[in-house]
């Protein structure tokens, strides 16, 4: 069905259709519309879920963990400070192998208070065992949220999935949305380690040095298996609903001499920049990374790579740039742009490409670098 929605509303719609049994959310800008929308669905009877008005994000994740252990579908959403506050429990969710789905509306971290888009919040979750996907349109936010439940709950994965959408740039932007009837695209959840008083067991029990690492390896094995599960979900989604998704969204990359890698809404700006650059005779392409965890193998051989990071790891560099360098053993021009909602236009991006300097880092808008 064709409609118009914001990114937040699209996520809420997908959640309603995925029919979670327990939703525990704490409000935070710019995520709040998701919590409000879901509360409304529940109060109107459009979604038959237990909606828990938790008193913090730490408790939101804890409540989802408690609920998920009974084998039911759970959802939460947060942003920025809220995500950082639940960090202890995001680790717990993955360690307890619970397929919780969370929308994270990417926002900068204080101080100073800044409510605008940045990816550093989610980057700080990259080692927790969560699958992470970044979307760029309202349609993609909706489609990916549906896929997230299927992927998280797959028996070969059983890990939580975080769907990332840029604060305001996507969360509050109205775009056309084509909704679907997911039906059995999201099969019923069968959690093999559901808590059952008829079969009493210890969960998260004290685990010694001879055993603990095996559980860690098990997470990594599932993370690797998830590559196949994600691919299958993309394929099945295309077959049922006709929209194509991959680990990356590639635009005019085939013959490109220079490829710009980015995540989130910036990727759409890059596509415009690519068209303009090609009009000037520069063979550019855009590779927008969707899945950051598991990190896919990228086809970047034999061309210049410009990476735009909307995040930063102090004393190290752009997280995406360094991940690509490490995984692909290639030099890149690392651009740090869009922090805290800093405006980045397609003309700015074309400028990054023209002035690229492989092996260097450039902070957009800062005068004393490069």
């Amino acid at each position: 069905m064709l409609t118009v929605a914001t990114g937040n509303k699209a996520v809420a719609l997908a959640v309603k259709q995925a029919k979670p049994v327990v939703v525990a959310i704490y409000p935070i800008t710019p995520q709040t519309e998701i919590v409000e929308q879901i509360a409304q669905y529940v109060s109107q009877g459009d979604l038959s879920a237990r909606y828990i008005d938790v008193e913090s994000e730490h408790s939101a994740m804890a409540a989802c963990i408690g609920a998920s252990m009974t084998g039911v579908r759970t959802f939460t959403a947060t942003s920025s400070q809220g995500l950082l506050y639940m960090h202890e429990m995001t680790n717990w969710a993955a360690g307890a192998r619970l397929p919780i789905v969370m929308a994270n509306v990417n926002r900068a971290i204080g101080p100073g208070w800044n409510i605008w888009a940045e990816h550093t919040d989610a980057m700080q979750e990259r080692d927790t065992g969560w699958l992470q996907v970044y979307v760029s349109t309202v349609q993609e936010a909706y489609d990916t949220t549906l896929m997230a439940f299927r992927i998280a709950e797959h028996n070969d994965v059983l890990l939580p999935v975080m769907v990332n959408l840029d604060g305001f740039l996507l969360s509050h932007v109205m775009q056309p949305l084509d909704t679907v009837e997911p039906a059995d695209f999201i099969p019923p959840l069968h959690l093999p380690h559901t808590v059952d008083p008829k079969n009493p067991m210890g969960y998260g029990t004290l685990t010694g040095p001879d055993e603990y690492f095996k559980f860690r390896w098990d997470i990594e094995r599932s993370m690797r298996d998830s590559l196949r599960v994600i691919e299958a979900a993309h394929k099945e989604f295309f077959q049922r609903f006709g929209r194509t998704y991959g680990f990356t969204e590639d635009y005019r990359c085939e013959d490109a001499d220079v490829v710009v890698v980015s995540m989130g809404t910036l990727g759409k700006e890059v596509e415009v920049a690519v068209d303009n650059l090609r009009n000037e005779g520069i063979r550019a392409g855009s590779m927008r990374l969707r899945w950051f965890r598991p990190f896919p193998k990228l086809d970047l051989m034999n061309r210049d790579v410009v990476v735009i990071d909307r995040d930063y790891s102090f004393g190290f560099g752009g997280v995406l740039a360094h991940s690509i360098q490490a995984k692909n053993r290639t030099g890149v021009f690392s651009v740090i742009a869009g922090l805290g909602g800093q405006e980045v236009t397609y003309d700015d991006i074309a400028g990054f490409v023209k002035n690229r300097h492989i092996g260097r880092e450039y902070w957009f808008g800062v005068s004393d670098n490069v």
């Binding site: 237990r50 828990i52 008193e55 609920a67």
Partner: protein, 290 residues
């Protein structure tokens, strides 16, 4: 009391651990259709080590600060599935009075259908007896080597302010009283809270065989008052009702405990005044004066 045991052989509790004894009675009262939620505390260790468990109901270990919130999620999910399974938190004083107080407050305020049992050994026992909000005035811990300069946090009045349908105090030295209160708590829909005094031989520095005796001295001296408050109606429980007719001097409770060794007269006096004030307050409430 049922013969069936849910705390089995093979726990790694210290000798004389009254928290484990209390858990035994709590689970006898709760029965097999129970999920036990345990934040970081002595019971994290006492339950045994993977791949074994010494507790014969599912034990869900959760983050230190999350007992109330984890129970909220689990209770809501179980009720949504139409299951009546008891959701029982078993948490120490650190996980209740200090780091877990926010999640507890939230769970109580939301009317979560669960029982929260706080076993209070008046310090961070699992990490070797550091001061907590539950440590009483004058008690020595590894982080208050001269005795705690502040008074014990009154979690009961904090919980009472949330107006749960049922709350009570208990002690493993009075198993029938504890058993009955757990039964009652689980028969009432909504949140209930039981505050269990848990004398701790290594932490309180007394011989391991004296845990029950110390618990009784706490009640007999009025340091620990056994009561229950059902829908706001307070009733002093019979062991305390009997004991408080002719309470023993506080010194008899403090003397066997190394943590109070050398307590100065001024601190002792403050402790006595606070006991008197508490008894007065409870008596007034029971008689409907306040």
């Amino acid at each position: 009391m049922p013969k069936e045991e849910f705390v089995l052989k093979g726990t790694s509790a210290c000798p004389g651990c009254s928290a484990s004894l209390a858990l035994r009675y709590v689970l006898k009262a709760a029965g097999p259709d129970t999920v036990l939620i345990v934040p970081a505390c002595c019971t994290s260790v006492v339950q045994g080590m993977y791949p074994n468990t010494a507790v014969n109901v599912p034990v869900v270990n959760v983050g230190f600060a999350t007992a109330g919130a984890s129970a909220s999620g689990m209770s809501n999910a179980l009720r949504a599935l139409g299951k009546k399974t008891n959701v029982v938190v078993y948490a120490g004083d650190g996980g209740t009075l200090d780091i877990g107080i926010q999640a507890l407050s939230g769970a109580l305020e939301r009317g979560t259908d669960f029982l929260y049992v706080c076993y209070d050994n008046e310090a961070y026992g699992n990490t070797g007896m550091q001061r907590s909000g539950g440590t009483p005035l004058g008690a020595k811990t590894t982080t208050t080597p001269l005795g705690k300069p502040e008074v014990k946090k009154d979690i009961e009045r904090i919980v009472a302010a949330h107006e749960p349908p049922f709350m009570a105090t208990a002690c493993a030295a009075y198993p029938q009283d504890l058993f009955r209160k757990v039964k009652k708590a689980l028969s009432i829909r909504g949140p209930s809270f039981i505050h269990v005094l848990a004398p701790c031989p290594p932490g309180w520095r007394y011989p391991t065989e004296k845990s029950v005796e110390i618990g009784k001295l706490a009640v007999k001296s009025g340091v620990w008052v056994l009561y229950e408050r059902e829908y706001g109606q307070l009733a002093i429980s019979s062991p305390s009702r009997t004991a408080l007719k002719n309470p023993i001097p506080l010194e008899e409770y403090l003397a066997p405990q190394g943590r109070f060794a050398g307590i100065d007269p001024k601190t002792l006096d403050i402790l006595k005044q606070r006991i008197a004030k508490n008894l007065q307050r409870l008596a007034r409430e029971e008689s409907g004066v306040c």
